[in-house]
Symmetry: C2
Subunit: 579 residues, 2 copies
């Protein structure tokens, strides 16, 4: 009975991590969480409005996508600090994909966006329940870096029309630029001036405000808090200026009157065929969202000496996206900037997310009349300033120095993303990483070994001239696990070694670097053994690792082996070497 | 000058391997090759006719596809024994793909078939010149086995209509069976009887003829030679019977009058768009053809202590397919059965292929009137008997015992090929192999090590209870190269190890099994180092391999390392262990 209760508690803890921290919740945690929630909310409101525009939906939808997801993640997420909600790259992907199905602003466009959130949520949830988090590992870091950099560039360029007060759009960078140049003569001077002032204010605040406030004898914490408020203050000032000076009449575009109050909960009416055709796109959004959220959550968790469960994160993000879809929002994920702020502001539990959701709720109810006068150019200014840090040249330079292949994968992902759009870019990059890895392991490093005279050590005969060899024995070491991609290479390598030496009697494969032998490689080993037997050469193995040996013992390979299995290369040498 | 001449000769040898063996050609080689060519030709004629029907083209096209390819391969191929020409699985793939573009028997169907040969030839040639032979390694043995088995089953079922004397066809196994059952009532008794007699004759010859002839005191070589003639004798007898008894009037379908004489050389008129849409299919045909040819060529070459150059084989097969396209034929590759016969009959050089081509030429010129009376049912009988050996249950059972994942990949490839057709089957199988490999390496075996008291040896603390450990030091060994698929796993593993131990001061990563660290894994190592530093734990490396160390030295990782790099786990222990 006791063990049943324990098991039940473990399942509950796995499904609802909140059951773990809620019992210990106290006033201290409450006040910590509340403070962090206030700061996060003030950052979240302008970001939510801006990323909604980036996703091609009405600004208020960004606020809708920030409440239920934040609240639900509190119950299902495993990270104390991750702040879920709209995020730049995921919003760009959403816009880029939905634009292919319907025109921005149309009712169908909104249906596709909500459907992407719903599908993405369902996929993340299923992946989490099936513990398929390892799927996210298929994207290598250079590919992600290339993709994020290209996305940042596209996000920046996509905001230029708002900044210039013109209307133009496109799916790829070149399409965007072409449309933009065409629309350039219609630039609205007032809009541009307002936008540039906002950009300068935001950059200045980022660069100097914290130091300036500290110089004014404010505490470091207070200075940092006030610096974080720069975006919302900029928005407030720009809105006030637009309203006060009647800039709307000068052609400055504002968000306009939006449906006040709460979103009505509903569920996208999705047919199986629609789901099938949007499925691939939703999967890409899910994976990018998950990878980004995980890297933030994990970095912060380690700082706090906490543990993140990737499969539980999938569940948390999945439920959050389902929540976004239910409230008519777009795909969401963990935000880097807000999560860091949440951590630094001292959030003690995921409850700070729930409180931030309440903050957004209050904003929706009270601020709708104000938001109507909010100029879109200020939101574009916020986006442009925030994506500057995403352009990642450093990783490219570093990869180039460390491993050219990885740098090329990053460059190709970057170029293809800009040139063919986010989906093709990501898929090409992932495929390229795989090819590169397979190519790298398909021609592993091999060494023919000789004995360092008088010792039990064996070294590569090409690197060490003084080693002892035997005319009848070749010892070859393969520095890679044996699997389908290099199985044929192994056959060819051994064929060519044997073709070079006349009167060869023994070939020893030194297996200390072999962590795995798959079925294809086992076939090759059997083929090699058979061929060598027919040529009168005995095939030996040495230093086979325990787990590899365990598997081999299940087969008839060892029974048919022409030579023997030796514990070490030295013991093979001792047995086979003739004076 | 001399070195230029040597270099020129090497290029020539690479482009035209014939330049290597032709100067040493003598009367002895000539007679050996001629004998082998006669036997191969007698096998090739019925196979070429049969596989043409399988590919959905007129039977005589099979003979066209057997001349120029065989002749060209003599000049460009590197295998002494490989017999190039029509081959069952490739013919099936051709029919399956071309049927999607046009109806069998139509002029467009023929255009697509020739285009597939041309594209496949061009691809193989380019892959060979660019030395991209490693692409073929992406198909694991179980996937190939699953694909070949499913193809064999589909080939067998596709021949049943000919055997029954009805007309029905389909793209997948189920479509074929459905069409067949519908057509079943129209079965032609005479056709079926003739076909079954042929099957029984062929099976009986395969099983008993060689032993019977040996018992009649014929030499072993002669007995084997006569046994090999069983298919052509069966064809001759069936044709004679059809003609003699006027079976055509009883509804037995015959090949009918074909264009006598040689094919006119021409080139398929292919637009860029057509090439693009057929490209993927042609690539699959190329890869399967190459993989099959290579495995035969390599096995025979090893028996003869010869060397095969995979990139040269690509060139040889590429030129052969271009030759097939030029003479209006379908995709070709090396045939297992004919190559083995060519080898056993004693072919001394690739010239035996050229002679077999001449043999087919003579047959075309002289045999056209006879071929007109050849019943298709006998060709189906030949195909059915020959594919029986391709159904590979053995590999499945063996894989199942050795590694379930590989067996599952084989089974899925088999089922998807039958259910969705050859292309989807092959692509699914290849993708599955990759996923499986990534999954397998994404959660590598890890061991926390302790010292075997009084020695320099360290062992897994979970397996060996008596080992010595230190409260301040964790030594962890990862048994896999570090790359993007397991980079995150490594971070999680080390996070969880550190979270378990309080007062940890040192973490040593034992690297003896790490053959490579890619850019993603390097990022993870830097992240781990940074996190550990912040937690007051020093990160050490031990037993880093030379090539891995060389790369790490190019980065700033070692400069920032919280701990040190140790030559061995023991020296790390000596330094860090506090009595």
């Amino acid at each position: 009975m006791a063990s049943t209760a324990t098991a039940r508690r473990r399942v509950l803890k796995r499904l609802l991590p909140i059951t773990e921290w809620l019992p210990g919740y106290n006033v201290r945690s409450l006040s910590d969480d509340a403070l962090a929630a206030v700061i996060v909310t003030l950052m979240l409101i302008p970001q939510a409005l801006a990323y909604a525009l980036l996703a091609g939906v009405p600004a208020v939808v960004g606020l809708y996508a920030s409440m239920l997801p934040l609240a639900l993640y509190t119950f299902f997420g495993s990270s104390t600090t991750l702040s879920v909600g709209p995020m730049a790259v995921v919003s760009l992907m959403t816009a880029s994909i939905a634009s292919r199905w319907a025109a921005q602003g149309s009712g169908e466009y909104m249906v596709v966006v909500v459907a992407l959130a719903a599908l993405s949520g369902a996929m993340l949830l299923v992946m989490g329940l099936c513990r398929l988090g390892f799927f996210a590992n298929f994207l290598s870091h250079p590919v992600i870096a290339g993709f994020i950099s290209a996305s940042a560039l596209m996000i920046g360029v996509s905001q230029l029309p708002h900044l210039l007060g013109v209307s133009s759009s496109g799916d790829t960078l070149f399409a965007m630029l072409a449309a933009l140049f065409k629309a350039l003569p219609e630039t609205n001077g007032t809009t541009l001036a307002l936008g540039l002032v906002c950009i300068v204010m935001l950059l200045a605040a980022r660069r100097w405000l914290e130091a300036a406030l500290t110089a004014l004898k404010l505490s470091a914490g207070m200075a940092r808090f006030l610096t974080r408020l720069a975006p919302i203050v900029t928005v407030a000032l720009a809105t006030w200026a637009t309203w006060g000076f009647g800039l709307e009449s000068r052609g400055v575009e504002v968000l306009g009157t939006v449906a006040s109050g709460l979103p009505s909960l509903s569920w996208p009416d999705l047919s199986f065929d629609q789901a099938k055709s949007l499925g691939g796109s939703a999967l890409l959004i899910s994976i990018i969202g998950f990878v980004e959220a995980m890297s933030v959550a994990q970095a912060l968790a380690t700082k706090r000496r906490e543990r993140i469960d990737p499969d539980q994160e999938l569940v948390g993000l999945g439920v959050a996206n389902l929540g976004s879809a239910a409230s008519g929002g777009f795909p969401v994920t963990g935000s880097l900037s807000r999560s860091v702020v949440n951590h630094e502001a001292g959030a003690a539990t995921p409850a700070s997310g729930l409180m931030a959701a309440v903050g957004v709720l209050i904003a929706i109810v009270t601020l709708t009349p104000v938001i109507a006068h909010l100029p879109t150019t200020v939101l574009s200014a916020i986006i442009i300033v925030s994506i500057l840090s995403l352009l990642d040249v450093h990783t490219f330079v570093r990869s180039w120095r460390y491993y050219r292949g990885d740098a090329m994968a990053m460059l190709v992902t970057f170029v293809v993303t800009l040139w063919q759009g986010v989906e093709t870019g990501l898929v090409t990059g992932a495929a390229l990483s795989l090819m590169l890895y397979l190519y790298r392991t398909s021609r592993p490093h091999c060494a023919v070994l000789g004995r360092v005279p008088g010792t039990e050590h064996f070294r590569n005969i090409d690197r060490f001239e003084a080693v002892e060899t035997d005319q009848n024995v070749i010892i070859v070491r393969i520095d890679e696990s044996l699997y389908f991609a290099n199985a044929r290479f192994l056959e060819e390598k051994i064929d060519s070694l044997c073709a070079q030496v006349k009167n060869l009697k023994h070939l020893v494969l030194a297996c200390q670097a072999i962590n795995m032998i798959d079925a294809s490689a086992l076939d090759s080993l059997e083929e090699i053994n058979q061929r060598l037997k027919e040529s009168g050469i005995a095939f030996h193995l040495a230093e086979v690792k325990g787990p590899v040996m365990d598997r081999l013992k299940e087969t008839t390979f060892l029974d048919n082996l022409g030579g023997g299995v030796h514990l070490s290369v030295y013991s093979a040498w001792e047995e086979l070497h003739q004076g």
